[in-house]
Symmetry: C2
Subunit: 210 residues, 2 copies
DNA sequence: GTCTATATGGCGATAGAC
DNA sequence: GTCTATCGCCATATAGAC
């Protein structure tokens, strides 16, 4: 038992049966609030209030604010890789796999907005060490599989650039939604994942044709 | 004379002959530091030090931190529209215009990183009122012209979605550079604007073809 | 228009009781 | 493991002299 104290996965399982440890409660609130306000924008007092605990109790579980932030990010990232497993394991042509990947990525990003905003803030800070950690421990496998797919779809093109383009297209539809509401030509269906997914997939597979 | 005190454009002109007013000095530093650290991350003391002035002097020019921030954003945005004028006024096929637009956007974003980061932070905050201001007073004309071009290139597709895709592709190559360094398949030429521009243009005009 | 000095409060972090 | 109380510092913002 003592061996598992502090193990996030154990706490996740506890969470699934409705028992949230204090540490997990803190981390859950931290993910939401760091995503919303950013690192300097969230005070330990605000977090303590949100988690319904005292500031001193937070410092019992985490040595300082920075360590808590890093833990929260790791916690938010854990398990995300599994979402795409079914995409890569599924049967079908490369074109079908691309459509499925785009659809899945879009759903993950739109459903878990806190995850998306946390990543976005991290990328914006662009700290080299943290970028390396993020790339290697979170996204590396997915990026490689996407490059493989890109290579099947367009062997003559640069797989790294193609993979980046695919991710860019999906990510920015989510990100630009609040801004794009204010531009002409906006239609209600532009917020529906299937419409966006169809557009992106079509664009990639056919380009712009008259 | 008194009429022009506080007029940013006047101060810009003064700036061009090497005379920076204190207010302009503050705004210039504010753009850099807000872009780097974000609103809560930058203190008035740090800004005062960077602008080589006292905190009280800043409060002589701006009523409070928030007003200063909004002024800094407006200041950073002023004049950006002119950059693309030559793209839209130039002669050539729609395909050539697209290539030129992509190239210009890429250059503006890569050269003026502070501008890019300020916008990015604003979009991430996603405050509805500020999104409206940003869309209408800064990007509206460009977006409309880009939609027109999209319509010429692909009349059967949704111009709003196509325009968003084009911007997404360009913006994220800049944004992902620090992260992408850590993925396999990375090549040095992936940081050259002309290589990126060629890839994006090709992707849009031809799609992924075997 | 700029300064020094200061008011007032929130910040991260800790001490020590229970 | 959680609390109340508190430390020392830095935050935004202001007062008033020059």
């Amino acid at each position: 038992m003592g061996l598992f104290i502090g193990n996030i996965l154990t706490e996740r399982l506890l969470g699934k049966v409705g028992v949230l440890s204090s540490k997990e409660k803190i981390l859950n609130e931290a993910i939401i609030l760091f995503a919303e306000k950013g690192y300097p924008g969230l005070s330990m007092r605000q977090l303590a209030t949100a988690a319904n605990i005292s500031v001193a109790a937070i410092y019992h579980h985490f040595p300082d604010k920075n360590a808590l932030y890093l833990d929260a990010i790791q916690y938010a990232f854990s398990g995300k890789e599994l979402v795409f497993a079914r995409v890569w394991e599924s049967e079908g042509t490369p074109e079908e796999k691309l459509a499925r990947f785009i659809r899945s990525l879009l759903e993950v990003m739109q459903q878990d907005r806190n995850f998306h905003r946390l990543i976005q803030r991290e990328i914006m800070e662009a700290d080299p060490e943290r970028m390396q950690l993020l790339a290697q421990s979170v996204f590396n496998k997915q990026f490689c599989l996407l490059m493989q797919l890109a290579n099947e779809l367009a062997p003559d093109q640069d797989a790294h650039l193609v993979a980046t383009s695919i991710i860019s297209l999906v990510k920015n539809y989510i990100e630009y939604q609040p801004l794009n509401k204010n531009f002409p030509g906006r239609k209600p269906e532009h917020e529906q994942p299937e419409v966006i997914a169809a557009h992106i997939t079509g664009l990639l597979l056919n380009g712009l044709k008259k």
